[in-house]
């Protein structure tokens, strides 16, 4: 599991302005190493460069500087021809924000088949892959439905199924839950978790929801085109002041622990990214206090 899947060194990118000149860089040099099978959340406020980062990893955008290695293929200085792009996109799938704008076909199963069809897979195998992908996202009974009649969360799960059917090693979710209602968001997040755990797919979830980031194994915080923080959710959320300065709020439970601590309450532990972890810390501290009180009396 320790094998590196995505490796970047000083990765840079600047967009072209309307006159064809490079604007000020959106990414100013990011160096990370993402291992196979990791579940990584990428946090950042609007315009931080997190979406640009995602698009570089899938080569929708070509880096303007730095080194990029995907699954052992060094893409630096390499001519990006169609064959190479196909090979890479087969490995790294991407799910976008608006589910409506990524579904191609008028029937759910036809849409899921779109990716494998493009890869030139034999019809019988496409059938198997489509059925498996729909099963994986729990949408088998909607196979013959028209996508526009489904809910946002369901549409997004179809989009995910369309990517799974291509059997990628890594899936990037570019704010895939941003347009969904709470139910839809939960459906998609459960699916992401399952893909990572049961299928061993490397997951990159680009988001600005803290609660989503808390579900990941590792969090990258990008600010102003640079990598600001890199660590476990617990480590990241402990840096409340720094996060606040770059316009990010820690989850409410982590905020509660922070406030209690600043009031002088002594709380032990570091599991601040989940409500359960925070509750356990507070409970432990309360018990300790009561026991201390008994000992006095």
């Amino acid at each position: 599991m320790s094998e590196s899947f995505i490796h970047t060194e000083n990765l840079c990118f600047s967009y072209l302005d309307s006159e064809g000149k490079r604007e000020s860089p959106a990414l100013k040099g990011i160096s990370v190493d993402i291992k196979k099978g990791e579940y990584v959340a990428v946090l950042g406020h609007n315009g931080s460069g997190k979406s640009t980062f995602a698009k570089l990893l899938n080569l929708i955008l070509e880096p303007t500087g730095g080194r990029l290695v995907i699954d052992g293929t060094d893409l630096t200085e390499k001519e990006l021809n169609d064959d190479l792009l196909l090979q890479l996109r087969r490995k790294v799938g991407m799910v976008f924000q608006n589910p409506d704008n990524q579904l191609v076909a008028t029937i759910v199963e036809e849409d899921v088949a779109f990716g494998p069809e493009n890869l030139g897979i034999p019809p019988a195998e496409i059938r198997i892959r489509v059925d498996e992908a729909l099963e994986a996202v729990g949408m088998t009974r909607y196979a013959k439905h028209e996508p526009h009649r489904l809910s946002g969360g369901q549409k997004q799960r179809i989009a995910i199924a369309g990517i799974i059917a291509m059997m990628p090693q890594c899936i990037i979710f570019d704010e895939s839950t941003a347009m969904l209602d709470p139910n839809g968001r939960k459906e998609v997040l459960d699916t992401i978790r399952m893909l990572n755990r049961d299928y061993g797919i490397t997951v990159l979830n680009i988001t600005h929801y803290m609660n989503e980031a808390a579900l990941a194994d590792r969090v990258l915080v990008i600010n102003d085109g640079l990598l600001l923080l890199d660590g476990t959710p617990d480590e990241i959320f402990a840096q409340r002041d720094l996060l606040e300065r770059v316009g990010l709020e820690v989850p409410q439970c982590a905020d509660l622990i922070y406030r209690l601590r600043s009031l002088g309450v002594s709380l032990e532990g570091s599991a601040i990214s989940t409500p359960e972890g925070c509750a356990a810390m507070i409970e432990a501290a309360y018990k300790k206090q009561q026991e201390g009180g008994k000992a006095h009396g």
Binding site: R89, Q102, V104, T106, F114, P116, N118, G120, I121, E146
Partner: protein
């Protein structure tokens, strides 16, 4: 608007529904030729009978089919009007001193024209729109026209555009409704005023609609690229169409029907249309 469904596809499990869509396209073309072959009463009677047979076979309610003729009533009325009053023949029906003269030939021609248009609509509807999903139809057209690829006609691209257009019709119509509501909430008025005023009122709907459609197009293009779309080179299909013996038989039958009509015309029984 959510319940909107495009094309007039009527889900059922009739023989016609199960047919290979390519065969149905061919049959529709043959059937159109048949409607134009008819020239006399006998041939038209046979044609009408065949249309009724098709309706029965497709198991589509007659009411639904008649409804599809409604938008064309004006054209039908106009052509029959012209035929009745403008055809000159030998058998005068009105008194000779009337200013408007109607000939028997004119009436026959009008009746034939109405029948022809109706059978044309019913026939193509039954072979294509009622029994075939838009998706299957696009597939069929792509496959049937694929020989044109040899002379560099981008058949696949057209088919892809067509299916994407079909996919986005409900999405965009939903969006139109949203934009209209947003404009109404700000006091826009789409229902009163003259034609010009109403046309002007549509501009604030069309502009945001176009802007968003272009945005969608860009996103869709990246999403398609991400799913390795690169034209039809090396592309396979999940659903493989199978041309069965029954499809071939149907084509043979309709061809024979056409030949039969040709001979019925020759018999010269009843009125024969003059052109």
């Amino acid at each position: 608007m959510k319940g909107i469904s495009f094309g007039q596809y009527y889900p059922s499990d009739s023989m016609l529904h199960r047919m290979d869509p390519r065969a149905k396209v061919v049959l529709a073309v043959l059937y159109i030729v048949c409607t134009f072959l008819c020239n006399n009463v006998l041939a038209f009677a046979a044609l009408l009978l065949s249309a009724l047979l098709l309706v029965c076979m497709s198991r589509i309610p007659l009411r639904l089919i008649l409804r599809s003729i409604r938008p064309l009533l004006l054209i039908i009325a106009l052509t029959s009007f012209i035929n009745v009053f403008m055809t000159k023949g030998e058998q005068l029906l009105t008194p000779a001193d009337w200013r408007i003269q109607i000939y028997a030939e004119g009436v026959w021609n009008a009746v034939f024209m109405v029948l022809r248009i109706m059978v044309l609509i019913i026939g193509t509807g039954i072979f294509l729109t009622y029994t075939t999903t838009p998706l299957a139809l696009t597939d069929a057209l792509e496959l049937l026209l694929s020989p044109l690829k040899k002379i560099h006609v981008p058949v696949h691209d057209f088919a892809m555009m067509m299916s994407i257009a079909l996919r986005f019709i409900p999405t965009l119509s939903e969006e139109t409704e949203k934009i209209m509501n947003a404009q109404k909430a700000r006091g826009a008025n789409f229902t009163t005023g003259g034609l010009l005023q109403r046309a002007k009122a549509l501009i604030p709907i069309l502009i945001p609609l176009f802007v968003s459609a272009i945005g969608r197009a860009f996103e869709l293009a990246s999403a398609m690229e991400c799913r390795c779309y690169h034209g039809d080179e090396g592309r396979t299909r999940m659903r493989v169409l199978k041309f069965q013996a029954s499809d071939a038989l149907a084509i043979v039958l309709v061809t024979l029907f056409g030949v039969g009509l040709f001979f019925l015309n020759r018999l010269g029984i009843g009125y024969t249309r003059i052109s």
